[in-house]
């Protein structure tokens, strides 16, 4: 019977405080709450009461509406950006220098000899068809040619162009060409024929508006196939060595030499050398702006030793990047021209972003569904690495072999013409596939902390006419220990890389809406419209519990009433008098229980109790509400 005791006690509490009925409860609440509006409803006269009731409702709805807006704002996870700019001691960027040409021609000549003879003969035929008499003494390796042939497309008739193979059909086509004037020769276009299998009909022709491009593209495809068979250490040997390329180095006031550079093999540019990569040693700091305190380099790109058909632009390729990141020279690299001094002022442009849920970026790439192939270089994640890895993975999946320009996944070989005859066709269709690109774009995410190096580039002629002589002498002596000049203007480059007066610009994000912000805004709104606080909400909750209690009491009494009626129906008795009824209804619960003589009746001491509140309104109420009940009785 503990429960009963508890119930009774709770009822007492109700009686002392909010009262027995909903109305009493409401009036009590309005009178005692700390929220500002309800008190007024009770205190004012009838007209004003109405106004205040309306106002309170209005304010309450306003508060809820604005709370909705605030919570929405909070859940949209906005950020505020702050920008700072100035000079501070910063890590000097990693500097990658490469030669635009990947290998020394003198070293790769044995490999590319056949190819060069082929392209020379082809150009001969294309450009000078009139004297195409075969003066070539050794026979051409036409098998190599036929793997990926170049064709001429005769577009005199727009609708059915005639395709002419340069070496096979030259007898018939060549005769026609001789008599043509320059205007009609323009109608010929050079194209690369790509077949899925050698000799199969499934072929595409890659059209080029310019023959120069066609030749370059063809040469790149062919040389890729040849070079991919060469093991890595041989390729490194064929490239430019650090001691040949980096002639002088000065960082601030400290001398440095080629040993301070880390060698990395880059498929596009052969051997590249990275200064201050930070892989083994601490990254260098620079605490002064200006060219005096930067990195000064003198490079030799030995232009005479370039592969003629592979890269037509000559110069050094260089790039500034973060420590421990892979240099993607094709994307972010810049050229430095031979025979000039190139000065590069650096501004570090940093972007620090909040991760999920504020923005869709990745901290270290671990949550990106693409296997990062560049992790074999121990480099950090970057979007370029992801895109390239994504492409290579697709390539391996579809063509069965990896492209020479990208790192290899485990257990896969590079593509070449012998083992994978259709690779060029496969690669070309994959490269131009928009779907593949979209998949990669969708699956790769950019990094949250992005550092870019903004460069101000200026150039001057170097060395000057007057100083040319002695500079060449000294550099030649230092490199080759010879008294003759082994360098020339076309190979020598001077580089100055330094911090500008303002060396950093940082844009960092911070959450615009925190939970503290949310709470204070919610409190502000509630306080502004209704003068309320969290305690008012607690009060409100209390009232709801109380009203639940009242409901329970009503239910109990209603149930009891039902029981009584049933009992009376079974044993028809003298109907209760009106006064009995009235008494029963005005004193809910207690008297009934006692009157019924339930089993717990004896345990209850006669409750002295406070008398019920003596408002007329309150006293009238139970009679009104219960009158239909009594009528049915």
């Amino acid at each position: 019977m503990k429960l009963k005791k508890y119930l009774v006690r709770a009822l007492h509490r109700l009686q002392k405080g909010p009262g027995y009925t909903y109305k009493e409860l409401l009036v009590w609440y309005c009178d005692n709450t700390n929220t500002h509006g309800p008190k007024r409803i009770i205190k004012e006269g009838p007209k004003k009461k109405f106004i205040w009731f309306f106002l309170t409702l209005l304010f309450a709805s306003l508060v809820f509406w604005q709370w909705g807006i605030l919570i929405n704002t909070y859940l949209s996870y906005n950020v505020t950006s702050s920008l700072s700019i100035g000079f501070k001691t910063m890590k000097f960027p990693a500097v990658t220098v490469c030669n635009a040409n990947p290998f020394k021609y003198s070293e790769v000549k044995p490999l590319l000899k056949e190819l060069d003879r082929l392209i020379e003969a082809a150009l001969e035929r294309i450009l000078q068809p009139e004297n195409s008499s075969d003066t070539v003494s050794p026979p051409l390796d036409l098998e190599l040619w036929n793997q990926i042939p170049l064709v001429l497309i005769d577009e005199h008739d727009k609708d059915n162009p005639i395709i002419l193979d340069i070496f096979e059909t030259n007898q018939t086509a060549g005769g026609n060409e001789t008599g043509m004037d320059s205007e009609s020769r323009k109608k010929y276009k050079l194209a690369v024929k790509l077949c899925s299998h050698q000799g199969s009909d499934n072929c595409t022709y890659r059209n080029f508006s310019s023959a120069a491009q066609a030749v370059t593209e063809w040469y790149v495809l062919q040389s890729t196939s040849i070079l991919s068979k060469v093991p890595l250490h041989d390729r490194i040997r064929m490239g430019y060595q650090a001691e040949d390329m980096i002639l002088a180095c000065l960082y601030g006031a400290e001398p440095c030499n080629y040993k301070n550079f880390t060698q990395i093999y880059h498929p596009d540019h052969g051997n590249c050398y990275i200064f201050n990569w930070g892989m083994d040693e601490e990254a260098l700091n620079s605490s002064n702006p200006g060219a005096e305190f930067g990195l000064k380099l003198i490079l030799d790109i030995s232009q005479q030793d370039y592969i003629p058909y592979l890269s037509s632009a000559a110069g050094a390729r260089l790039m500034l990047h973060q420590q421990k990141s892979f240099p993607f020279l094709k994307d972010q690299g810049i050229y430095a021209m031979a025979g000039t001094e190139t000065s590069i002022g650096v501004l570090v442009d940093e972007l620090e972003r909040m991760g999920y849920p504020y923005s869709d970026c990745t901290m270290n790439g671990s949550d990106v569904p693409v296997k990062n192939l560049y992790s074999q270089y121990n480099t950090s994640y970057s979007i370029q690495a992801c895109l390239r890895s994504c492409f290579q993975n697709h390539m391996v999946e579809i063509c069965g072999c990896g492209h020479y320009m990208f790192p290899l996944p485990e257990g896969v070989n590079y593509c070449n013409n012998e083992d994978y005859p259709g690779w060029a066709y496969c690669y070309s269709s994959l490269r131009s596939s928009i779907k593949q690109r979209q998949i990669c774009i969708d699956s790769c995410k950019e990094t949250c902390n992005d550092t870019q190096y903004k460069m101000t580039i200026s150039m001057a002629d170097w060395p000057s006419e007057a100083s040319e002589d002695w500079i060449f002498h000294i550099l030649s002596y230092e490199r080759d220990m010879s008294t003759n000049v082994t360098l020339d203007r076309n190979g020598i480059i001077k580089l100055n890389i330094y911090f500008q007066e303002y060396n950093y610009r940082t844009i960092s994000e911070s959450a615009a809406t925190t939970i503290v912000w949310l709470l204070s805004s919610l409190g502000g709104q509630f306080g502004f419209w209704m003068g309320g606080s969290v305690l008012c909400l607690v009060e409100f909750g209390e009232i709801i519990i109380d009203s639940l209690w009242i409901t329970i009491i009503h239910l109990i009494s209603w149930c009891k009433g039902l029981q009584q009626r049933r009992a009376r129906a079974r044993y028809p008795d003298v109907p209760p008098t009106v006064s009995e009824l009235v008494e029963a209804h005005t004193n809910l619960g207690f008297q009934h229980e006692a009157g019924l003589g339930g089993p717990g009746a004896q345990e209850l001491p006669p409750e002295p109790g406070t008398p019920p509140p003596n408002y007329d309104s309150l006293r009238v109420q139970p009679l009104d509400t219960l009158s239909p009940d009594s009528d049915t009785d």
Partner: protein, 655 residues
């Protein structure tokens, strides 16, 4: 009888609209009532506190809290229209911008010969006179006479002059005669300060044709500038008379300019370029102009996937006086933007590969009331003469052109024509040069008001360019490259292209990150209100309800009390006057009215009944009426206890 219906109406009004206000007949009572019953925290303390010092303290505290609230809320209001900047970076497929490419030389010199031969002859003569053949004066004079007989008096109108600085005399080019310089002297070069020692400053004089005494002399410290400027003036005159179709023919065709084209790994040709005639640069070609409805986009960054063109710059066909540098000019812009190639173009060197890496930034500012920028330019009172979207540059140029047409009667050659106007030339507007120079000077000094009228655009796109140059073609590839390119060009094989006639250009995205800088309102109304609420709640635990209370008590109730009192006083004064005149009759009516207004016996002293007390039944404290007793909550009882207790204690303290 006349007053009876009025009284009835008022009586009925009072019955139907019972206004129950504070139970206070006087202002001080009202204040006490307010302080005790208000929801704000400070006021109650003032009334409840005992002791003068403590009360004073509470008054001070309350007042300072009110002051703080007012101050802070004013701050909040003032900062309402502030904007916060947000930077978002998004990696995505980016639209490729339009790239406009021009040859620096506008028209083929060989084709322009027939129009420019006289001007060139004149220029050469000037060079001879001033620099080469100063001794052969007679020869020059003779040729001048020959030339004069051909009838080109226009060149004579604005001759080059050699000015002797101190004597302020000028030697004329043709006649060699000296003339005194009148009017003001304008120096176009800033280095004029230390040019006092040289006595051969070159310049030209522009005079108002209607009023020859008004002249302006423009001098240059260097003859190079003087001759170029002078040449340009005459050149613009000549070009203004040639119709557009002819000019387009005189300039380079797409086939002339573009040798090879490669975009996003695919070949492209002249169909991808749109011609655009620029008055100063001749035919320019815009790649990806969006004219055919599609805008190309790239989904891969890097130099392989951008635009790669080889340009043919025919150096031999350059105009020697108009342009002194060789190469091409390019500008990267949005498809809707007008390419101001003369203002912000990047120059491309010949015999070199120029690689331009782009980084895309989009910015957006908030327009009024946050900042003074314009969304579409529709609210700017300057007509947009270019059929492109609004930009500050367009507005300034249009504004200047409009001023030019208004004051000089003709339009400047370098900018588009407003409707109904035509370009200036000697024949129709002999006066225009003087007018133009005057106007241009005014424009630069911001006297035309263009800089005030024109606002910057709210949103703009920017491509930050990183330009680097490599040697091209390399020594070893030069031979085959030039041969193949010559074949492409379809020239005779024996005439190989020269590498100084070629320029290689690569334009590509460095990365596909779009940086979007946008301004957002730092405050919304919701946040402003919650900040208000925070301030009000912090200092006084006040809310809008309190504000309404304050309005109710301090404006409506107290005003009604004051008005009531004034009304009573006026009435009293009136009745006194009436009594003084008419005696007892007036007094009676006054009493009668007073009795009606106060049905209860509360009015006992001079404190006349207020509006509220008049309508209301007696005050609850005094009323012995057998109504329902007040609710017996302890809080309420405490209130009344205080209000009863307080006056006594206070009076005790005062005594």
């Amino acid at each position: 009888a006349a007053t009876a219906p009025g009284k009835k109406i008022t009586a009925r009004l009072k019955r139907t609209l019972p206004v129950r206000g504070p139970q206070a007949p006087t202002l001080s009572e009202l204040m006490r009532w307010y302080c005790l019953n208000t929801n704000t925290h400070g006021c109650r303390r003032i009334v409840v506190s005992r002791g003068r010092l403590r009360r004073l303290l509470w008054i001070l505290l309350t007042l300072s809290a009110v002051g703080l609230i007012l101050w802070q809320c004013a701050e909040l209001l003032m900062n309402y229209y502030s904007a916060s900047v947000s930077v978002t970076v998004q990696f995505q497929k980016l639209p490729f911008p339009a790239v406009t490419i021009c040859n620096i030389n506008p028209y083929k010199y060989s084709a322009m010969k027939e129009y420019l031969s006289e001007l060139d002859k004149e220029t050469k003569k000037a060079l001879e006179t001033f620099y080469g053949f100063s001794e052969g004066k007679s020869k020059v004079r003779r040729s001048v006479e020959d030339w004069n007989s051909t009838g080109s008096e226009f060149f004579q109108q604005i001759p080059l002059l050699k000015v002797e600085d101190f004597s302020r005399t000028a030697t004329e080019l043709h006649s060699g005669q000296k003339r005194r310089v009148e009017g003001s002297v304008f120096h176009k070069d800033s280095s004029i300060v230390n040019s006092g020692d040289s006595n051969d400053i070159i310049g030209f004089q522009l005079c108002d044709a209607n009023n020859s005494s008004e002249c302006a002399l423009y001098t240059f410290s260097s003859g190079v500038n003087a001759i170029q400027e002078w040449y340009k003036l005459h050149y613009m005159n000549i070009m203004a008379q040639i119709p557009l179709e002819t000019k387009e023919k005189l300039s380079y065709s797409a086939d002339d300019l573009i040798l090879t084209c490669f975009f996003d790994g695919l070949s492209c040709d002249k169909r991808h370029f749109t011609r655009f005639h620029h008055p100063l640069h001749g035919n320019c070609y815009t790649f990806n102009s969006g004219d055919n409805g599609t805008i190309l986009s790239t989904s891969t960054g890097g130099s392989e996937y951008g635009l790669h063109v080889v340009l043919y710059i025919d150096e031999a066909d350059y105009n020697p006086f108009l342009v002194t540098s060789t190469g091409a000019k390019i500008i990267v812009h949005d498809q809707n933007e007008y390419p101001f190639i003369e203002d912000i173009g990047t120059e491309i060197e010949t015999a070199a590969a120029t690689s331009i890496g782009m980084h895309f930034t989009r910015s957006r500012k908030l327009s009024k009331p946050y900042s003074d920028c314009t969304e579409t330019g529709a609210d700017i009172p300057v007509e947009n003469l270019y059929n492109k979207s609004y930009s500050l540059q367009i507005c300034l140029h249009s504004c200047f052109q409009k001023a030019m047409v208004d004051s000089c009667g003709c339009a400047q050659y370098a900018q588009p024509l407003p409707p109904g106007a035509e370009y200036c030339n000697y024949k129709r507007n002999p006066n225009w040069m003087y007018c133009y120079y005057r106007l241009h000077e005014k424009f630069v000094k911001e006297q035309l008001g263009c800089q005030q009228i024109c606002k910057d655009a709210c949103s703009f796109k920017e491509w930050a360019l990183t330009t680097s140059i490599a040697q091209w073609p390399s020594v070893v590839s030069e031979d085959w490259m030039l041969r193949v390119l010559s074949w492409d060009k379809g020239q005779k094989l024996n005439k190989k292209l020269n590498k100084t006639d070629l320029a290689n250009l690569m334009v590509f995205y460095k990365d596909l990150n779009e940086r979007f800088i946008s301004e957002n309102p730092a405050n919304t109304l919701v946040i402003l209100l919650s900040n208000f609420g925070g301030q009000l709640g912090l200092w006084m635990s006040c809310s809008v309800v309190c504000v309404i209370e304050i309005v109710e008590v301090f404006l409506i109730d107290s005003l009604s009390i004051v008005l009531r009192r004034q009304w009573q006083r006026a009435k009293k004064w009136w009745s006194h006057r009436q009594r003084g005149r008419a005696g007892k009759a007036a007094q009676g009516s006054d009493l009668e009215r007073q009795g009606h207004d106060n049905p209860s016996p509360v009015s006992m002293d001079e404190d006349l009944p207020t509006f509220t007390t008049a309508l209301r039944l007696p005050l609850p404290q005094d009323s012995p009426l057998p109504r329902t007793p007040p609710p017996n909550y302890s809080t309420l009882r405490l209130d009344t206890a205080f209000s009863e207790q307080l006056p006594d204690t206070l009076e005790l303290g005062q005594h």
